[in-house]
């Protein structure tokens, strides 16, 4: 009975969404959009691209135009990492690792130590080229976290240096805000690009955008690594 009611409500919602979007005149047909009547026309304008200096326009929006939004978003991630740490007991020196179901053998241990380096280099490449190619701080930081996850999986006794992660995260977050405040000092508004934009497509271009994206990458990487560590270490029994 409950399932049928749930199915009815869900179907009603789906039909309602499709009908509402179908009859709305302002909702565009799929694949047939008019960019000139949208905000993005300004982002894709040739002069504005030269002013910002970032070849990847998504990066220009995330870090440049909407940098304050990204600051808030990184804060949300920090608060959720804090919440995970709080729920799992928050005892700082808990040593009991979660047992994996299998015994890692020699090949797995050595192989994952070699692959760890490759993943780390790839993630750093993605982070540093965030303003030139697809990628950037968010996927690069998540890649750092998955490299740490590989080390956890390949060794039963492994614990990363959690205090170092916390320190790195704090430093990266503070530097983000400090760079924003420097924009207020050297230019007119918070997070303004006060460094020269340079030529589009070079590694040293786009002013503060690559610097901030590197900081975001370090912050996201250390936060998600902290979450993984919390999940893999048993808290004191409550």
């Amino acid at each position: 009975m409950k399932n049928i009611l749930g199915l009815f409500v869900a179907l009603l919602l789906g039909v309602f969404i499709i009908l509402a979007l179908d009859t709305s005149a302002s909702f565009p047909e799929f694949g047939d959009i008019d960019l000139t009547e949208r905000v993005s026309d300004e982002y894709l304008d040739g002069n504005n691209i030269d002013d910002v200096g970032s070849a990847n326009i998504v990066t220009a929006i995330v870090v440049g135009y909407r940098g304050f939004d990204t600051l808030g978003e990184v804060t949300v991630l920090f608060i959720s990492a804090l919440g995970v740490a709080l729920v799992f007991g928050g005892v700082p020196n808990k040593q009991n690792r979660l047992d994996l179901k299998f015994k890692p053998n020699f090949m797995l241990k050595t192989g994952s130590k070699i692959i760890f380096g490759f993943i780390l280099v790839t993630s750093l490449y993605i982070i540093f080229h965030g303003h030139l190619s697809p990628g950037g701080g968010f996927p690069g930081g998540a890649m750092i976290a998955s490299a740490i996850l590989l080390l956890y999986l390949s060794d039963d006794k492994f614990r990363s240096n959690v205090k170092g992660f916390k320190l790195l995260e704090g430093i990266a977050g503070s530097l983000f805000v400090i760079i924003g405040l420097l924009g207020l000092v050297f230019a007119t508004y918070f997070l303004q690009n006060f460094l020269p934009a340079g030529t589009v497509g070079e590694i040293l271009s786009a002013g503060i955008i690559p610097i901030i994206y590197v900081l975001i990458g370090l912050k996201v990487g250390s936060e998600i690594s902290g979450i993984v560590d919390n999940f893999l270490t048993e808290g004191e029994s409550v």
Partner: protein, 85 residues
């Protein structure tokens, strides 16, 4: 009206997405539902690449099908271990 290659591929991806979501919601074992969710994320990456969003595709590939699945599996593992004690 002719079907272009994009239409064919996107229809295929859409049908697969719906089928895998249905399997994820209706599987009896929790671990199977988690793995179907991982497959759903991987197919979403293909959809993002089709719609010319490489940044989002990279992010979803790393996070959606890697880290989130790992977190789910760790939760289930730690719980199983306590039950067997």
């Amino acid at each position: 009206m002719t079907m272009t290659l994009f239409d064919v591929v996107s229809t295929f991806i859409g049908v697969l997405l719906i089928a895998i979501a249905f399997l994820a919601l209706n599987s009896n074992k929790l671990i199977r539902a988690v793995l179907y969710l991982s497959a759903l994320s991987m197919l979403t990456v293909v959809a993002f690449v089709l719609m010319k969003a490489p940044d989002v595709a990279v992010t979803e590939a790393v996070i959606g099908s890697g880290l989130v699945t790992a977190l789910f599996v760790f939760t289930l593992l730690s719980v199983k271990r306590r039950e067997t004690k």
